[in-house]
Amino acid sequence: MNLRPDPTFYPSPKLAMEGPPETLAYTLMLSPDFSQPDGLAVVNVDPNSPDFGKIVHTVIMPNKGDEFHHFGWNACSSALSPLTGHAFLERRYLIIPGMRSSRIYIIDVKGGPTAAKIHKIIEPAEVFAKTGYSRPHTIHCGPEGIYVSTLGGGGKDGTDGPPGIFIMDCQTFDVIGRYEIDRGAQDKHYDFWWNLPRDYMVSSEWALPPQFENGIVPEDLLSNKYGHRMHFWDLRARKNIQTIDLGANHQMALEIRPAHDPVRQYGFCGVVVDTTNLEGSIWTWWRDADGKFQAKKTAIIPPQPANADDLPDLLKGFSAVPPLVTDIDLSLDDKYLYVACWGTGEMHQYDVSDPMKPVLAGKVELGGIVKKTKHPCGKVFGYGPQMVEISRDGKRVYWTNSLYSTWDDQFYPGERGGAMVKADVGANGGLTLDTNFFVEFPKGYRTHQIRLEGGDCSTDSFCYPSV
């Protein structure tokens, strides 16, 4: 505990943007065939360091088969509200759930780039016993501690009861119990985030474990059985207050990105694929004057025609490659929304100054099922742009290339290696890959989510507006 708030806690998004730039990135490494334990890579991202773009440290876990995916901090800027009562936590621990094993690792990163080490391990049995949920996924720190979304319910295949969110103590990391008092129509889960002063939460739906663990199930997708709804919650009352169905053809509503400035009562959600035409789409959701939530499709990304010979078995019948919008991320000034098109191999940058009218402002082509665009440094970027993270000041964008072990193999057969790249944002938008930044990972590892030292654009929740 500090005697002053952690210097990386910022009252408003604007003050966070003015903070010092990140010098380290933390990137998850996963062993897709479970032959090696998963790990955390510490990457130097300080352009003034001789180690720029290099992995300077790894923390390798003691178990195999965890399958790392998303992760988050034990504490963030949300601690600066007196309502939470824990202003003096340190941003010190990364909470890393094993999405396949349901084991949760607490990694202590204090003490410099090479000091990261395991602080605590929460075994799957504790998660099952105390929550009835399985397959923990997204982490956010909020009023009652650490909130963890899960993708599975109880039982071996995770279908005994719906998945949901559980709460962990933000100091001891004890699993406390389920979040939901009234979940309403919610029966699948993926991402969640909130507006703390306005006291609402938004959650999304991917799929149930049998629909993703052993690969995508084409019959389920074509019969629109994946998630396609958004749920709106009274955050502190823990009640589902509204459910919006985006339409059954809008399969897999994933990342929820609310505007960072809490005055703004809108946000975005990315939909992976429209089963009627293979489009990817961006939805804008907002709270209207009556307090009701609305959602509207505000941008579409069309599929690209392709020869069946260039497509994996899964897509051969379609003669087109879908963009597959698998991650989106919003800059702290709520100006640019980055959209990963994992199928076509593109990273889009939209100007969302008018959230109802996203305008394409920049684009980078890299990897892709058909195009397989090489990095400007000459190296092959396997798979496509996937988990994207933006620096707090909005000037640098980092991304990795793996979606999920079994899905990678269906869309991109063969092992193609983990990678992490960086692009620079122009003063008036636009996106350019940094030729000098291409992180390769140890053999057999793929990469997923990135967290930046001192917080980034998908971790911190702010309690005061930017003024």
């Binding site: 500090n2 002053r4 007196p82 009562g85 002063p197």
Partner: protein, 221 residues
């Protein structure tokens, strides 16, 4: 603060005001929420509105803690025991808070729109009301000495009025201090001041309870 100070009327009232200022400037008692309210609603008048809600919750918390002690003044023969007991309770709470720094989790479930309720609960949970009890009982002692033996009902009426007076003066000082900070941050200092000026007062707070309680016990004997 010294025992002598707590034995004179002026000194005791000074302690009531000083503890109010101390509670007011502590961000944990809520002044940043008034800044947030004004910024969120984009109008300055939301600031006094939020302060009023915080003050109301604090006032009620002080009153519900002090009033039972006001009623106990009928037990004239037990005044020393009551003052010693009250002092010991305050000391015990201070010691407990010193070793148990955890913020009660139910407080985090109060919606941000219920500021008065939150202010009431946080003041009760952190013993803000109990901190006033030894000071208040000191004032009762002074009053009683002045008045000599009166009828019980008259005594209760008088001590009850005194408890409400103590709570009101304390809350007035609290909200003036917190309000001045909130307005200063909103108008001139900016949000950066919030994170720069916030100190962990938990240990000092707990020690204050121990000190006030101990002085209460000492001055009763």
């Amino acid at each position: 603060m010294s025992p002598e100070l707590l034995s004179t009327t002026a000194g005791l009232w000074f302690a009531v005001v000083a503890s109010g200022i101390y509670h007011g400037v502590n961000p944990g008692m809520g002044w940043p929420l008034a800044v947030s309210a004004a910024l969120m609603e984009r109008r300055a008048c939301a600031l006094p509105g939020a302060l009023l809600a915080l003050a109301f919750g604090h006032l009620v918390a002080m009153t519900v803690v002090l009033l039972p002690f006001a009623l106990m003044t009928v037990l004239v023969d037990w005044q020393t025991e009551i003052r010693v007991g009250a002092g010991l309770i305050v000391v015990a709470l201070g010691v407990w808070l010193l070793f148990n720094r955890r913020h009660p989790r139910f407080l985090a479930r109060v919606p941000p729109s219920r500021l008065a309720l939150w202010s009431f609960l946080v003041a009760v949970a952190h013993g803000a009301g109990l901190m006033l009890v030894p000071i208040y009982l000191g004032l009762c002692g002074v009053v009683e000495t002045d008045a000599g033996h009166r009828a019980a009902t008259a005594l209760i009426a008088r001590t009850a009025a005194l408890s409400i007076g103590v709570a009101a003066v304390h809350t007035g000082a609290m909200i003036t201090a917190g309000g001045a900070l909130a307005f200063g941050v909103y108008r001139w200092l900016g949000l950066r001041f919030l994170s720069k000026s916030w100190f962990d007062l938990d240990a000092i707070w707990a020690l204050s309870l121990v000190l006030v309680g101990a002085i209460g016990v000492f001055s009763a004997l």
